[in-house]
């Protein structure tokens, strides 16, 4: 089978048995990126020479009997992760020329395990968006239909994996930014428990919600990468000191006895009928393999999106105050005084959606409004978390749709910010409650992929991965290719 069609797990086996070298593999994928990315815009930076050097080093390590767990395996990083001496833009004009002076912990751990990084992927500006249309570097196109969005904010990572330009990618998720693009591109997206993976060197958006994860083609590949990325890091004060299980070894846990919760409201009128049918069929497959389905209630579900759009902008307005035109990033020309330097550098360096979120956050934190909005949202967040806690007293995972519709057309949702925000209605709850969640492909509607969403209690990544892996033993949705990318 052509190398670009193989999963990380298959490539690892081929490299291990000497069927091909990491340099050969890297050359082949760089060629694919060159051939296909002009039509997708999934990459902001391609790291050709650097990747080939890393591949040669991985081959040498293997010959010396010192191959790391990911030796020679190709990856791309979402351009939100700092990579030493590589431009790291976060999809923004503000950081268009920012060269990171250090590695993010995720970047460092994957490199130490031998991964070969082919490039940095396009994304919504500062990860604020659900369609990849807010990027300063232009929208990413969905390989399943290039007139459509791949979702966002990790749209470049998702499109690159879906088009078989690379087998897997890092990504980040604050309200659905891993899982929604995974659903819209027919890939697997895993957002771990809050604090499971270090945020050090990951450019901050909303620090009580942000979490690093992966987009891959199979649950097994996601398990392989998470095992390398997860674990305590003293450089992130919210990173949790919790043992990292062997996620790959856990994949074979049977579905028999798994208690799956279904939320009735998830299947209300807002869900596209084709998506609903695909998700119901996936649930039937889980049931046929021995899982039990039970209805659970999340009474405060409707408050998830508004709660998020208070909490996340509030945190963003604080986090993004570091971009001041003084120490790094964009600086406006000829400022007349310090205030003018700040206001114009930020006014010109940030795009419209980022400015709206900073201003929303500034508003909800300002005197006279703090209690009514920010404090209120933190209380509602507690209610939403309690709903999940109650549900997980009776079920092991909650299953449903990842997104309300398949991929939408570019430009379709840009006029109204709230319509765009509602893309994340099913995913945001997991961020608010800090829960791990995964999206796996479970069907096609009019030729466009649909995602099955699984949410578990804190640190239940193993159950999510094994459930998805068992599902993928029964089905081949994760192996479907967009036309033109075989």
């Amino acid at each position: 089978m052509s190398l670009h069609l193989q999963t990380l797990t298959e490539l690892a086996s081929g490299l291990g048995s000497g069927d091909f070298t990491a340099v050969e593999l890297t050359r082949q994928l760089l060629g694919r990126i060159e051939a296909h990315d002009a039509g997708l815009n999934a990459f902001i930076t391609v790291l050709g020479e650097r990747a080939l050097a890393a591949a040669a080093a991985a081959d040498a390590a293997r010959r010396a009997g010192e191959a790391g767990r990911l030796a020679g395996l190709p990856l791309v990083h979402k351009d939100i992760f700092c990579m030493r001496d590589v431009r790291t833009t976060c999809g923004s004009r503000m950081l268009e020329n920012f060269v990171a002076p250090y590695d993010a912990t995720v970047v460092e751990r994957l490199a130490r395990a031998g991964a070969v990084v082919l490039g940095k992927t396009n994304m919504d500006e500062f990860a604020m968006g659900s369609s990849n249309e807010t990027s300063w570097f232009g929208p990413v196109r969905n390989p399943w239909d290039r007139e459509r969005s791949p979702g966002g904010s990790s749209g470049g990572s998702a499109a690159a994996v879906a088009a078989r330009l690379v087998p897997a990618a890092t990504a980040t998720d604050t309200g659905g930014s891993i899982r929604q693009p995974a659903a819209l591109t027919g890939t697997v997206g895993l957002k771990p428990t809050y604090g499971r993976v270090s945020r050090h060197g990951m450019i901050a958006f909303a620090s009580s919600l942000d979490q690093a994860g992966v987009i891959a083609r199979s649950a097994a590949d996601a398990a392989l990468l998470l095992g390398v990325m997860a674990g305590f890091d003293a450089r992130d004060s919210t990173c949790l000191d919790h043992p990292v299980p062997d996620y790959v070894a856990g994949l074979d846990a049977p579905l028999a006895g798994l208690r799956v919760g279904i939320v009735r409201q998830h299947f209300d009128a807002g869900l596209d009928a084709g998506c609903a049918a695909a998700v119901r069929e996936a649930l039937r497959v889980l049931e046929a393999r021995g899982a039990t389905l039970t209805e659970v209630d999340l009474p405060n579900l409707d408050y998830c999106v508004p709660t998020y759009y208070v909490v996340a902008p509030a945190e963003a307005s604080s986090n993004l105050s570091r971009f001041d035109g003084v120490r790094f990033g964009y600086r406006a020309a000829d400022p007349k005084d310090l205030l003018d330097l700040y206001c114009r550098s930020r006014g010109e360096g940030f795009g419209a959606e980022v400015k709206r979120r900073i201003m929303t956050g500034t508003y909800v934190l300002s005197a006279g409004y703090y209690d009514a909005y920010y404090l209120k949202a933190q209380k509602v967040r507690q209610l939403i978390s309690e709903d999940f806690r109650r549900a997980f007293a009776t079920v092991d995972v909650i299953a449903g749709p990842t997104a309300p519709t398949p991929a939408f057309r570019l430009g379709d949702k840009t006029d109204d910010p709230v319509t765009m925000y509602l893309n994340d209605i099913y995913t945001i709850g997991a961020n608010l409650a800090g829960l791990p969640a995964l999206s796996a492909p479970c069907g096609l509607v009019d030729g466009l992929p649909v995602g099955l969403h699984l949410v578990g209690p804190h640190f239940a990544e193993e159950s999510l991965l094994s459930a998805a892996h068992q599902y993928q033993q029964e089905t081949d949705w994760h192996r479907r290719l967009p036309e033109g990318y075989a």
Binding site: N97, V99, P101, Y194, G195, S208, S237, T238, L240, Q265, D268, A269, G270, L271, Y303, V305, P306, Y309, V310, D324, V326, R327, G329, R331, P335, K336, D337, L338, L339, D340, Y342, C343, R346, G347, F350, A352, K355, R356, I358, M359, T360, Y363, V364, S366, Y369, A372, Y373, K376, A377, Q378, K379, V380, R381, Q382, L383, P404, D416, P417, V418, I425
Partner: protein, 121 residues
Amino acid sequence: MHKAACIIACASVGGRFQAYFSGFSAVSLDHDQVQHIAMLARLRLADDEIAETVAKLSRIVAFVDQLSSAPTADVPAMAHPLDRTQRLRPDRVTEPDDREHVQENAPAVADGLYLVPRVLE
């Protein structure tokens, strides 16, 4: 102003969220408020950005205003998703001096200092 009644009980996702916007226009921000918020956030909006910003921010504020109907009496505010407190570390220098490398990203530096427009006349 922002407290105006705008909560519409809705029954289902699609219709549900459409309904949030169809019934009200009372919750909104005006031009002066938006300019004030922009100044607090140290953002200069171009003249042609202001009208759209007023309209879209008003829409967002109206949308999040539905939280006012949530029953939160006696509910503690949640600051951390896993209910942890901030971890502290010993107050020791652990990072090496990397100033020159870090300052390569600065728009203007001299003698290791960041340059800004004159602050004191």
